[in-house]
Structure formats: C-alpha cells, structure tokens
Amino acid sequence: MTHAATVHSLWTTAAAAPDKIPSPDIEYGQLSPTLIVLGAAIVGVLIEAFLPRRQRYVAQLFVSVVALAAAFAAVIGLAAGDYGTSKAHVAAMGAIAVDGPALFLQGTILLVALVAVFTFAERRLDPVVHGNRVDSFAAQAAAVPGGDAEKAAVKAGFTTTEVFPLVLFAVGGMLVFPSANDLLTLFVALEVFSLPLYILCALARRHRALSQEAAVKYFLLGAFSSAFLLFGIALLYGYAGTVAYSGIADVVDGQVRNVTPALAGTMGNDALLLIGGAMVLMGLLFKIGAVPFHMWTPDVYQGAPTPVTGFMAAATKVAAFGALLRLLYVVLPGLRWDWRPVMWGVAIVTMLGGAIVAVTQTDVKRLLAYSSIAHAGFILAGVIATTPDGISSVLFYLAAYSFVTLGAFAVVTLVRDAGGEATHLSKWAGLGRRSPLVAAVFAVFLLAFAGIPLTSGFAGKFAVFKAAADGGAGPLVVIGVISSAIAAFFYIRVIVLMFFSEPRTDGPSVAVPSPLTSSAIAIGVAVTLVLGVAPQYFLDLASQAGVFVR
C-alpha cells in the first residue's frame, strides 16, 4: 500500500483504538515484593515531609527495615508457592517475569539491602558533634562544603534521613531489573535504581569534595551508558517490532516471519539485531563494571560514603547480572554463537585487568573496587557457560560475593582517624596488633575474595569454573585461575600489612560500632563461612531457581 494509505490506516486504527485497548490486569500478589518496597519508599518521603526532624531517623529506620523484611517474606512466600519453579510465568502483561532466577535474586537483593540499611543507620562511629550522634551522611547535602550553611546544619544536628527512602527506591528498581521481561521495563528499572544511587554517592559527611566528584562521574557516565542502552533497545525494537523478550526471542529464532519488508530492503536486519544487542549488552556491562566499561568503579567506590559503596557493590552487581543473564538466556540464546566469543574477550580482559591493576592500589576502597571488577570477570565466566549449571552457579556466586563485599566495606567504616575513615593502606599497617578481632574478620573477607577453601569465595569460584569447564570454556578457567593467583597477591599484601608490619604511631583507631554495624559484619562472616563449609543447601536452591520463564 502507499504511504498515505499506511498513514491513514494507522491513523484510523489509532482512532478506533480505545475499545481495543485491553484493561491491564496486574497480579499484585506476585509483584508484592516490589510494591511493598516502593510503597515504603513513598511512606519514607511522606515521613520526611511531615515528621519533625528528631523522630525521622527512628521512623525511617523502622519503616525501611520492616518494609525490606516484609518484602523478603513475600519473596519467600512466592518461592514457597512454587512461583520459582512450576508456576513460574510472566506477570503484569508481559512486563515482569516471576520465576526462579527473579525470586532468588530479589531475595538476595532484599537481604543485602536489609544489612546495608544497618550500616546506613550506624551512628556510633563518627565522633559526637554538638551533642548529636551522626551517621556517615552529610548534614545538609545542598550546603556548600565548609560553608556557613553547613556549619549551621551540623550545629543543628541535621542528618540526611532521606537516604532511607532513596535506598528503598533503588532497591525497588533493583528488584524489577532482573525480572524485567521487556526492554522498556528494563530501561525504566535501570533508571529507577540508578538515579537514587547517583544522589546517595554525593551525600558523604566527610571528604565531601570526593563524594560529589564521585556523584558527578557516576551520573554522567551512567547517563551516557543508559543512552547507549536505550539506543540499543531502539534498534532491537526496530529489528523485532516488539520489546518483549519472548517476542524478540521468537524473531531471533526465526519462528516469526519478520514484519518489515520496508527495512529488509535498506539494511540487514541482523545488523540491527547485532548492533542493538551489543549496545544493550554494553549498558549492562557498565553496571556490572566489566572492562572496558569499568573505569567509573574505582572512583565512585572511593568517593561514595562507604555504606553506600558497600550497598552498590553488592546489590547493583546482583541486579545487573540478573538482567544480563535474562537477556542472554531468554532473548539472545539464538545468538549464542555471536555473543559468546565477544563475552569471552570481555571476561578475559575483565579478570586480568581487574586483578593486575589492583596489585598496585594504595587505597582500601579502590582495592576492593578493582577486586570487584576481577570478580565480575569470574562471574562472566559462569555466564558464558550457557548451561543450567551456568545460571545456578552465577546465582550462587552472586549471593556469596555480595555478602562478602558488604562485610568488607562495613569493616572499612570502622577503621578511622581524625579525617574520618582511614582508607589509605599505609594506615592499616599493624592493625592486627592493635585490634586482632577486626583485622581477623577483614582477613576472613580477604581470604574469601581470594577464594581460599572453606570460604564462600571458594565454593562460588569452584561452582563457576566448574560450569565454565562443562560449558566448554576450559581456557577461561585457566585464565581465571591465573588471575586469581595474581589477585591472591594483593589480598595477601593487605594481610601482611595488617599482621606482620609494625603499627604506625599515627595509625588509625578502630571505632567500636553499635549493634547495627556489628550485626552487619557478623552476618557477613556467618554467610561467608556457612556458604564455604556447607554450601549444598544453597546450591540446591540456586539450581532449582536456575530456570528462566519465557
């Protein structure tokens, strides 16, 4: 038909549309985790609006903890209701998948968030100012650092209790991200959890300049990457005529006759597909922090308030990998032979790059940042396996890794000197002599990172490598092993520093935390050891959860 006709028909159908648009039906029960969290977030906003300052902290803390716990309970409920396995299906008109991986990851994210909130709420570490206990967030984010406004705010004992609703919003986004079942939802979810994180990065009480710089970098680069993602989505939409995962998958598998003869003439559809796929991939790899999209990681990790860093490092990775898995396993399985080699390359440079650069780091937080990059590489090895084992191993690894990270950063918040947290490695010298317990705990986390047996790190690493080897990615395993050897070197370096070198006279003091942080760290250690010694139960969980719905 002619163009006019096309337009016309389009127009008329559009006109005739109203009675054709079906009324959306939403399975609220199955979306309850997300809804609870987001609802709580809104409540949090209201609290900020209506409650007097003094009461906000308690109220916020209460709301967020309850909300997260409730959401987690909801996830458990769903899992118990077989929504992870037999009843797995696509909810909310194809927008959101409720299946094993989704529930597993949501559960993980919620737990991580819960623990993270404890560290957010910690108010014993910073010295008391003007009789007010303060947390690690700026008194008044908007105030110029060192300016009168800030001084006043500090004096008045302001604290940024907004962080709690912000976290809840972020969590809400993260819950959706791995379960998003169409590209639009994916994009929206991405933004929903990214934007709060940008802000959170900027809220540090100490070293505000760094904090703000981190925020700027994270924001600009984040926006940049999401633009790529979006364009990728556009291309995929152009390729398939739909943004629903299943729809695209069908087209990729060639089950549906492609609907755009008009395009067929001008450019190869596969070009659209491949380019679009690559760009979406890039958007996710950015969040994961894979080389070469990793460069924001160290700066942001270093600048952001440490509790936020911990939360980001743990939760973002989980969510992003969830999304990546779904994309690769649901949307692009038909494209395996195209993306696997590429991902091989990414995995290799990520593992090696992260490990090698970490060797010469001098700041604990940057060190952990690079180590997180290296770990992203290891997980990618599991992703590449493209076997059910691959999925479950990645799920397990994420669960194990996120708690180790959280714990590690929580420990970092304890080691302080006059300037706040003493993150420069040289200051950690002889920590083992000053406070053996803290040093020992941190050592445990480092050993877990290094993948020493009897820690969760080892179990996870083994699971992933095993999957990779089964999936015919033997060489990846070898490279993974080599880079873990390199990685081991700098973890060990820290341990040496803490235990075998003389304490510095101007060394930092270790603050005694409140039950909040203590419990956060305790949980971290517990999970690390349990997953290390008796991982079977969780492996079962992961492998049950290891099936995507389509």
């Binding site: 300049a209 970098k217 926006a223 005529g241």
Partner: protein, 99 residues
C-alpha cells in the same frame, strides 16, 4: 521521503551526542549531549514504530521523556552542588580521584 532516513538522522544525532560527551568539558554541555543522545533514541523509536506500524515505539518515546526529565532533575542537582562548592562546572576539574 523514505522514513529510513530518519534512522540515519537518529544515528547521526546519537553519534554527535556521544562525541560531545567525549569532547566537551563543561558538565552542563556534557549533560545536554546525553540528552541529545536520548532524543536520538526517541527519534529512532518513533521511526521504527512508524515502520512497523505499531504504537509501542511511540509509547516508549513518552517513557523516555519522563525518564530523561527525572535524570535532569537529579543531574542538575548534582552538578549544581558541585558547581557551588568548586565554582566551576568543568568535569576536568573534578579529577581528585585517579590511579
């Protein structure tokens, strides 16, 4: 004219935006470039939806605008704070953290 040309335009705009992000120093300008990229995406969406003859693309475009707006709010907020504390909006000045 052939709607495919709009795609070329979109690609062009996107590239310009990306290039701008890479080249320019001023945070605001960078940010505008990002917005440009987003708009390029929108153009692409709309074009495709026109080509495919379904409305998804156009709906997505609306979503994108909303998201972009939200981004602006957050972004400007951050940039402004930084500007107030540094009296400079140049992203190159914000390079305390390196190596």
């Amino acid at each position: 004219m052939n709607p495919v040309n709009y795609l070329y335009l979109a690609a062009l705009l996107f590239t310009i935006g990306a290039a701008g992000v890479v080249i320019r120093r001023n945070a605001i300008v960078l940010f505008m470039c990002v917005e440009l990229m987003l708009n390029a995406c929108n153009l692409a969406f709309v074009t495709f939806s026109r080509l495919h003859g379904n409305l998804d693309g156009q709906i997505i475009a609306f979503f994108t605008m909303v998201v972009a707006a939200a981004e602006v709010v957050v972004g400007l907020a951050i940039i402004v704070t930084v500007f107030r504390s540094r009296h400079s909006a140049s992203v190159d000045d914000a390079s305390l953290m390196k190596l």
